[in-house]
């Protein structure tokens, strides 16, 4: 506390008397009890408060009492200092409306609280300082600015604009800066109310809390918020990319991500080359396989796809079955999962029997009546037919029922 006094003294006061010093000491003591005030911020605040003080003289300060406690030290080299010096001396002149006596701390706190609540809380919507160690709080300043906001706003916010150092907002504008000033000076006691009030407002500011030992200027806060967002994103990416689990550094992870994306792109190229090569050998008409293929694909995933048997009926208007297709189906590795393999085997057997006998459509009808999982087999069979015979089947709209149910894999 002494150092504060010394610092004050070192400032370029004009006509600062001992009495003023004493008052300052008292106010400092009072403040010390309640707030953590940093010297440099103090200086900043002082400079910024100049216009406020000017406004104060003319404004109706309901609880302007609080301000006075601060005044003397706040004003450093201000022209109005003289005025201030007079305050304690001639309190009466100050205001017919107000009494500018020293208010006891408890009352001061109360005033502050009332001030903050009356301060339209627009101020508070800023970075809400809830209980914090490093809050730069000048309660009275806030009350001052709250009350004198009208007059303050008349002054150009430029005065405040310089003091973004105190502002923990990331966006700074004229009005909000004023409000920010208010908010930065919220007292610990009223921080909760402030926070509540601030939430009511709808300015989309990024609330950042300065932690102990960290710089509190707006730039570093903005940087920190950005960094946190980015690290969150990196964590999400870590889950996506399978190889990232062991790597902990950001750079390493980013390298892994780059490698993974490159490998995926190369895989796409390779697969498209493979399909192109396939096309030459296999004449396949995939027009209508869209929905049918899917269940087969899906079935290869742990969950099998269910296909309504009824929908498969239209597909039986195909070319006659032939042994080769049946064999293909038998050998088909793509066919659906374990649950259906038995069905496939039995189905294929009966199919082959039927195909040997005749190529009649109707012989395939029993497919649909089977109670096992012919639904899983059907797409495989059908696609085999198509593959072998280049057959154009009418795309049955009823097939869309395949995909009506939700799949656990839907992305």
């Amino acid at each position: 506390m002494l150092h504060r006094l010394e610092s004050l003294e070192s400032c370029n006061y004009n006509g600062m008397g001992v009495a003023v010093l004493e008052r300052q000491a008292a106010s400092l003591k009072w403040q010390q009890q309640n707030y953590v005030v940093q010297h440099n911020n103090l200086v900043e605040l002082c400079a910024s408060s100049m216009p406020q003080l000017q406004g104060l003289t003319g404004s109706n300060l309901g609880s302007g009492q609080m301000v006075e406690l601060k005044r003397p030290e706040v004003f450093l080299g201000s022209d109005d200092f003289q005025e201030f010096v007079n305050f304690p001396v001639a309190g009466a002149e100050f205001g017919d409306s107000e009494k500018l006596d020293m208010v006891p701390p408890e009352a001061a706190a109360d005033y502050c609280i009332s001030r903050t609540s009356s301060c339209q809380m627009t101020a508070l919507n800023t970075s809400v300082m809830k209980e914090e160690r490093e809050d730069m709080i000048l309660e009275k300043m806030e009350s001052t600015t709250g009350s004198g906001r009208k007059s303050f706003n008349k002054r150009k916010p430029e005065a405040v604009a310089d003091h973004k150092g105190k502002n923990k907002r990331i966006k700074g504008e004229g009005e909000p800066e004023v409000k920010t000033k208010c908010s930065t000076e919220i007292s610990r006691n009223s921080s909760k109310e402030n926070s509540k009030a601030s939430e009511v407002q709808k300015l989309d500011y990024i609330h950042v809390r300065a932690r102990r030992g960290q710089a509190t200027d707006s730039h570093s806060l903005a940087e920190r918020a950005r960094r946190e967002k980015i690290s969150k994103k990196m964590k999400c990416l870590q889950d996506l990319v399978p190889s990232c689990n062991k790597i902990t550094g950001k750079a390493g992870m980013l390298d892994e991500i780059i490698n993974y994306v490159q490998s995926l792109q190369r895989q796409v190229e390779f697969l498209s080359m493979k399909i192109a090569a396939l096309n030459s050998s296999v004449q396949f008409n995939v027009e209508n396989l869209t929905m049918k293929e899917f269940p087969a694909y899906v079935a290869n995933f742990p969950a099998a796809a269910k296909l309504p048997a009824m929908a498969s009926l239209p597909y039986f208007q195909l070319n006659p079955l032939q042994k080769e297709s049946v064999n293909c189906m038998l050998n088909e590795s793509m066919l659906p999962p374990q649950t259906a393999t038995e069905g496939i085997a039995s189905a294929s057997v009966s199919i082959s029997e039927q195909s040997l006998s005749s190529s009649s459509m109707t012989q395939l009808q029993p497919f649909s009546t089977w109670n096992m999982d012919p639904q899983d087999i059907v797409p495989g069979i059908i696609s085999n037919f198509k593959r072998e015979y280049n057959f154009k089947c009418h795309y049955s709209p009823s097939y869309k029922t395949y995909s009506n149910d939700s799949d656990s894999y839907h992305s």
Binding site: E223, R227, K229, I230, K233, C236, L237, L240, V241, K250, A251, L254, D255, I257, I258, Y260, V261, L264, Q265, Q267, V268, E269, L271, S272, M273, K274, I275, A276, L278, N279, S280, S281, F284, N285, V286, E287, T290, M291, E293, F294, P295, A296, Y297, V298, N300, A303, A304, A305, K306, M334, T339, D373, D376, S403, D405, S406, D407, Y409, H410, S411
Partner: protein
């Protein structure tokens, strides 16, 4: 009653959308090709290019314009030199507007810039449309792009396996 109810595909999932479109385009490609020698390397290469474009296009269309990378990819595909379709000016205007919106010229200061300088540029080259994005959005787009790429690879793998002899 032992009713076996295996789960079905979600028709609106990315995978189903992509697969539908891709298969349709594959069939178109097949229909287009002449029945002449289709096993010559040049033919195969040409088909490969077409299929790759079809795959990218299907994926981008499945995502619509919801993502920057899909928009960038669609725009790139539309303005390919070999593309005979005339590109509407409205599309270009829309695209430039998108680009302007996406351009956040934030310089990565602090440790971020140091850490991500080189890698971020590489990532920007990989992800379509990444040149005009700041790091946070770039990571966001990368995540979605990776998800779509994995879907694409899975579906194409299945198709390739299905039709392989």
């Amino acid at each position: 009653m032992n009713k076996y109810n295996p789960p079905r595909m979600n028709p609106s999932s990315l995978r189903s959308r992509f697969a539908t479109r891709f298969l349709r385009s594959l069939s178109k490609i097949n229909a287009k090709k002449p029945t002449a020698s289709s096993s010559s390397p040049t033919e195969i290469f040409r088909r490969y290019r077409r299929i790759k474009v079809a795959a990218d296009k299907s994926m981008a269309y499945s995502v619509r314009s919801r993502r920057t990378w899909s928009r960038a990819m669609l725009w790139k595909l539309r303005t390919r030199p070999c593309c005979r379709r005339s590109v509407k000016t409205s599309t270009i205007v829309r695209k430039t507007r998108h680009e302007k919106q996406n351009k956040n010229t934030t310089t990565t200061t602090g440790e971020d810039g140091v850490v991500f300088g080189v890698e971020a540029d590489e990532l920007r080259e990989l992800v379509p449309g990444g040149e005009a994005m700041d790091l946070y959005n770039l990571l966001d787009e990368t995540a979605h792009y990776i998800k779509c790429l994995t879907t694409q690879v899975q579906v194409m793998k299945k198709i390739a396996d299905f039709y392989s002899p």
